[in-house]
Amino acid sequence: MKNLEKYDQAFIECLEVSKEQLAGLEYQQIVNWDSVGHMGLVAAIEDAFDIMMDTDDIIDLSSYEKGKEILTQNYGIEF
């Protein structure tokens, strides 16, 4: 699976959203993206890319777009 697909899949499965809802999606914007959903999302992203995320990065992952930025800048994942 390509990186973007893996990333999208994590969001879609964990937060139970459709692909169309991804653009602009933010933390606490939907019921499922609360602090619990956030941890599920982090775990899924870590699994998908075989990484361990830093606490600061976990806090900063506040939107679908921001997440991509963080993964590229801090974990060398190209989308």
């Binding site: 609360d34 602090s35 619990v36 941890m39 599920g40 982090v42 775990a43 899924a44 870590e46 699994d47």
Partner: protein, 323 residues
């Protein structure tokens, strides 16, 4: 209940000890099961935010009042509905011991008392919150099961099973916000009172509970490099001990117990007491905290000061075996 797929292991590890607790209780309610949930001003800390949102009528907050916590929880459990009650481990044990003894011990109220942040999780705060003597106190109260799970999936299974089992149970959480993954197979069979053999070995048997299990695994790896093969056992249930497993260890030259707890009256004490009357019993090394109050610092610092870090334990084991 969560689908038992392996990715759940990472999720619960990331949720941390209290997050795993919250998830288990929430899932129990989501499954349509009956339960009440009480906390002493620590509902958010217990990971109960979703319960507050979706099952508010099930959640009761007594404020900073642990004695009242036990009484209220027990009253709510009068007809047998399981009640989860949470506070910091120091206060569920040292503070409310008399209420626990009467309502949970003698009267057998169906309360699942959760001592959160036990061991050294809050060692950065003060001795007041560090190394609660919770196993010691609960062991001295007849009639209460005592469980100290070692990782996220074990916390989850423990809480679920506890809710399904009639009778008072004390569960201590020794992990912080990021847990080790000890059980790598999400569908491992969990049973209260059933210790789990994590690793086989013949020269020594290392028995731990809670976060000390992770340290014992590392210890066994250090020992391997010295050609010493160690069995590692996760003895999550301190009362009742898995005596079948203990009986199977009587031929070992050395058994070792380790716990984030005082040396006296914890898991080590329980195991030593079990063997005391036996004709054939292995030598036992007990790792834990001596009779003092470690100074404040990180959990890792405290482990090193008290001698629960793998390097120290391995050294002591080698020394003992070579004697």
């Amino acid at each position: 209940m969560l689908e038992m797929e392996n990715k759940v292991l990472r999720f619960l590890a990331r949720m941390g000890a209290r997050g795993s607790l919250g998830q288990a209780v929430y899932d129990y309610l989501q499954d349509g099961r009956e339960a009440f949930v009480v906390s002493a001003d620590l509902a958010h800390a217990s990971g109960f935010d979703r319960i507050k949102e979706r099952f508010p009528e099930r959640l009761i907050n007594v404020g900073i009042a642990e004695q009242n916590l036990i009484g209220v929880a027990s009253g709510l459990a009068k007809t047998g509905i399981p009640v989860v009650a949470t506070s910091w481990a120091m206060f569920t044990s040292a503070r409310a011991a008399d209420q626990v003894r009467n309502f949970m011990g003698y009267m057998q109220s169906n309360v699942k008392l959760i001592g959160m942040d036990s061991g050294f999780v809050q060692s950065g705060f003060s001795y007041s919150h560090t190394n609660p003597p919770d196993i010691a106190i609960m062991r001295a109260i007849p009639g209460i099961k005592i469980i100290s799970p070692c990782d996220g999936i074990e916390i989850y299974k423990t809480v679920y099973e506890a809710l399904d089992t009639q009778g008072p149970i004390y569960i201590r959480l020794t992990g912080g916000s990021m847990l080790p993954i000890i059980h790598k197979d999400v569908s491992f069979h969990y049973g209260i009172g059933k210790a789990v053999i994590l690793k086989e070995g013949d020269d020594a048997a290392l028995i731990g509970c809670g976060n000390a299990v992770d340290n014992l695994i590392t210890t066994s790896e250090i020992l391997e490099r010295e050609d010493i093969s160690a069995k590692v056992i996760d003895m999550h249930t301190v009362k009742p001990l898995d005596i079948e497993i203990l009986d199977g260890l009587s031929d070992y030259r050395l058994i070792v117990t380790a716990e984030n707890h005082l040396k006296q009256s914890g898991l080590g004490g329980a195991v030593a007491e079990y063997y005391a009357g036996k004709y054939k019993r292995p030598q036992q090394l007990i790792f834990g905290v001596d009779d003092f109050y470690p100074k404040t610092g990180s959990a890792k610092y405290v482990e090193e000061v008290v001698g629960l870090n793998p390097e120290y334990m391995a050294r002591q084991i080698v020394k003992t075996l070579n004697h």
